[in-house]
């Protein structure tokens, strides 16, 4: 292929190259530079001869050159991709990337350092933008973390402070329940008890949710003991605060189960509360708890309108409250229940058709008993 004669001319290749060339002796004193470099920097060829390459750098670059650039160049023979500012003749700073190679002394002459200089203003601006964006993101994360911590503390304190008066109300209602009251009085006390139970469950769920979101996750206090008493207690609690509703329960758990009994109780309480709220009021709610060969299975079933397929997908997301306007609670109950299942290595699924809606916890016990 024929080549234009100019391209064969190495002088031209050197002088007109689309990058700056600077040649220096081994101490970094400039012995030659190309026209491109002079045009970029405004320096005059004769004036920079004999100057040190580092003399063309502002102070930061100069110190960097002496302490890292030059030593590395001497040791490994080359040093590349360094972001530098070169001070032009008029004092302006030209942003560049520099590559350097040290060619050792040979028969052709003494050692020479070759610098190839590339303008990099755009790229440096881009990098600067990236760095600023990173710093901003780090700042934002930091302040976000601080906020989170504050929120966590706030929620923890709030939860604690709410529980105390709630406990007083609970014992007060219990005491009233033992008095001989009018029929109306008994009814009011029953309603109050129901509210207390629901409020206490809400506090538990909110605290768990906050902990889960803020990195703590659901923590388990496992022990191996019979589970049935814990489940029975939840059922009877909800029975007592749901007059007029039928809850049937069936237990087939003969052995102790290794799990967090309080948490599984909380899970059942959330499922049962959900079934009582959303199920048809005239149909019973059924609890089935059994141990299969490998799993613990707890199912809560209610009758009534089926849950739409679309809603089923999002059922376990926090703050999901279906389409109904009038709703109890924050929509955290099912989310927390599924988190409790997950913490136990189990799953919580929902099935719903025209006849019944069932939530099923399946939790491996073979693994849990190890």
């Amino acid at each position: 292929m024929p080549m234009p004669s100019d391209a064969m001319n190495y002088e031209t290749l050197f002088d007109k190259a689309p990058c700056g060339y600077v040649l220096a002796d081994k101490d970094g004193r400039i012995v030659r530079s190309n026209q491109t470099f002079l045009a970029w920097t405004g320096h005059v060829g004769d004036e920079i001869l004999g100057k040190r390459f580092s003399d063309l750098l502002p102070i930061g670059g100069k110190i960097f050159y002496e302490t890292h650039f030059a030593p590395s160049l001497h040791m490994q023979g080359n040093f590349s991709e360094v972001a530098l500012d070169i001070v032009g003749r008029d004092g302006s700073k030209i942003q560049v990337l520099a590559n350097a190679a040290l060619l050792p002394a040979s028969d052709d002459g003494p050692a020479v350092i070759h610098f190839a200089i590339f303008r990099a203003a755009e790229r440096r601006m881009y990098e600067k933008g990236l760095l600023e964006a990173r710093d901003k993101a780090e700042e934002a994360i930091k302040s976000e973390r601080a906020d989170s911590e504050l929120r966590e503390q706030f929620i923890a304190v709030l939860g604690h402070d709410l529980r105390n008066p709630l406990a007083s109300i609970t014992s007060g209602v219990h005491m009233l329940g033992k008095e001989s009251l009018s029929e109306r009085g008994n009814k009011v006390v029953g309603l109050m008890m129901g509210s207390v139970v629901r409020a206490s469950a809400l506090i538990d769920n909110v605290l768990d949710f906050a902990r889960g979101r803020l990195g703590g996750g659901i923590t388990l206090a496992r022990s191996s003991k019979p589970l049935e008493p814990a489940l029975r207690q939840v059922v009877s609690e909800l029975r007592s605060v749901s007059p007029g509703r039928t809850i049937t329960a069936h237990y087939e758990i003969d052995e102790p189960i290794d799990c967090d009994h309080t948490r599984i109780g909380q899970l059942l309480s959330n499922l049962l509360g959900n079934a009582l709220t959303h199920g048809a009021k005239d149909l019973p709610v059924q609890v089935d708890a059994k141990r299969t060969e490998h799993d613990l299975v707890i199912a809560v079933t209610n009758g009534g309108k089926p849950i739409p397929a679309k809603a089923l997908e999002r059922l376990f997301q926090p703050f999901f409250r279906g389409n109904e306007r009038l709703q109890h609670g924050l929509g955290l109950g099912l989310h927390i229940a599924s988190e409790i299942a997950r913490a136990h290595g189990g799953t919580l699924v929902a099935r719903s058709d025209k006849i019944a809606t069932t939530f099923i916890l399946t939790m491996p016990i073979a693994q849990a008993n190890k």
């Binding site: 081994k26 102070i59 670059g61 960097f64 890292h68 590395s72 001497h74 040791m75 040093f79």
Partner: protein
């Protein structure tokens, strides 16, 4: 994981050398040479023990030579970096003392380049039994001009340097890629592939620059038990000749030798002259 295991293997099977102490491992310390008296080489800011590669071998016949990397540089254990400790040269001096004691150095020679000259001086004050001779290559107790004292830089210039380091990818060689690190079957591959000297973690480089160039250790000068040699280069922008003279005048009995070498790193640019000056002194 594989990498960690391999390292343990290497230490266990390494010739007849006993298992290295923690500080030796953290500082990537190496002991060479067949002599009795210890000679410890300490690198300066921006580099690692490789910067002694042309000088240290010349002393292996007569000395037990010790090389190491400060935490954050070269092959040191980056996990041992503690920003608070290394915010002052005193923290680095503590490491030199700990290393000297771990490696049983007594009446040895300390050769410190650049900021390490002052680190060595602090270490020698703290543990006088370690070194009976100090070779300070391009020392500067304070880089910033202060009243009559000429350090070579104005405070603004040093702040400009620190800002420059903050805002630029300066070509610090990053730590080796994890993929290469994990190659436990051929650990030497990592060395070969990077082939890069003076590796310094960019974050550490910034902080070490701050510690180094904002330090003022003039109070550490003065009477010292060890004999002191100061090597001063021509045309050294980091530590100009006036600073070398200041150090000589401030340490009674110290000896100042002007090298023909130019720049800040005579150990690299003029190793022969550097070796001769150290030999004449020890």
């Amino acid at each position: 994981m594989a990498g960690e295991l391999h390292q343990i293997e290497r230490i266990d099977t390494g010739d007849a050398t006993p298992i290295a102490s923690l500080i030796e491992q953290q500082l990537n310390a190496r002991e060479l040479g067949v002599g009795q008296r210890a000679m410890m080489f300490a690198h300066g800011y921006g580099c690692d023990q490789n910067m002694w590669r042309y000088v240290a071998p010349a002393f292996e016949q007569d000395f037990r030579t010790i090389l190491f990397d400060y935490i954050g540089a070269g092959g040191s254990d980056l996990g041992a970096y503690d920003a608070q400790k290394y915010a002052s040269l005193s923290g680095y001096a503590d490491d030199v003392v700990a290393l000297g004691r771990a490696m049983d150095v007594r009446d040895g020679v300390f050769v410190g380049h650049s900021v390490s000259a002052m680190i060595g001086l602090i270490a020698a004050r703290r543990a006088p039994e370690l070194f009976s001779a100090l070779v300070l290559v391009g020392p500067s107790p304070c880089y910033i001009d202060d009243a009559d004292y000429v350090g070579g830089f104005s405070r603004d210039q040093i702040l400009e340097l620190l800002e420059f380091l903050d805002s630029n990818h300066m070509g610090w060689s990053q730590a080796m890629a994890p993929v290469i690190m994990g190659n436990s079957e051929r650990p030497e591959l990592a060395e070969e592939l990077t082939g890069s000297f003076c590796r310094t973690d960019p974050e550490v480089a910034k902080q070490f620059a701050r510690t180094t160039f904002l330090s003022d250790t003039r109070a550490e000068l003065g009477e010292v038990d060890a004999r002191v040699l100061i090597l001063q280069c021509r045309d050294d922008v980091i530590a100009p000749p006036s600073v070398g003279e200041y150090v000589r005048n401030a340490i009674p009995g110290s000896e100042l030798v002007h090298l023909n070498a130019t720049g800040h790193c005579p150990n690299l640019s003029s190793p022969v002259e550097t070796i001769a000056a150290i030999k004449a002194f020890v």
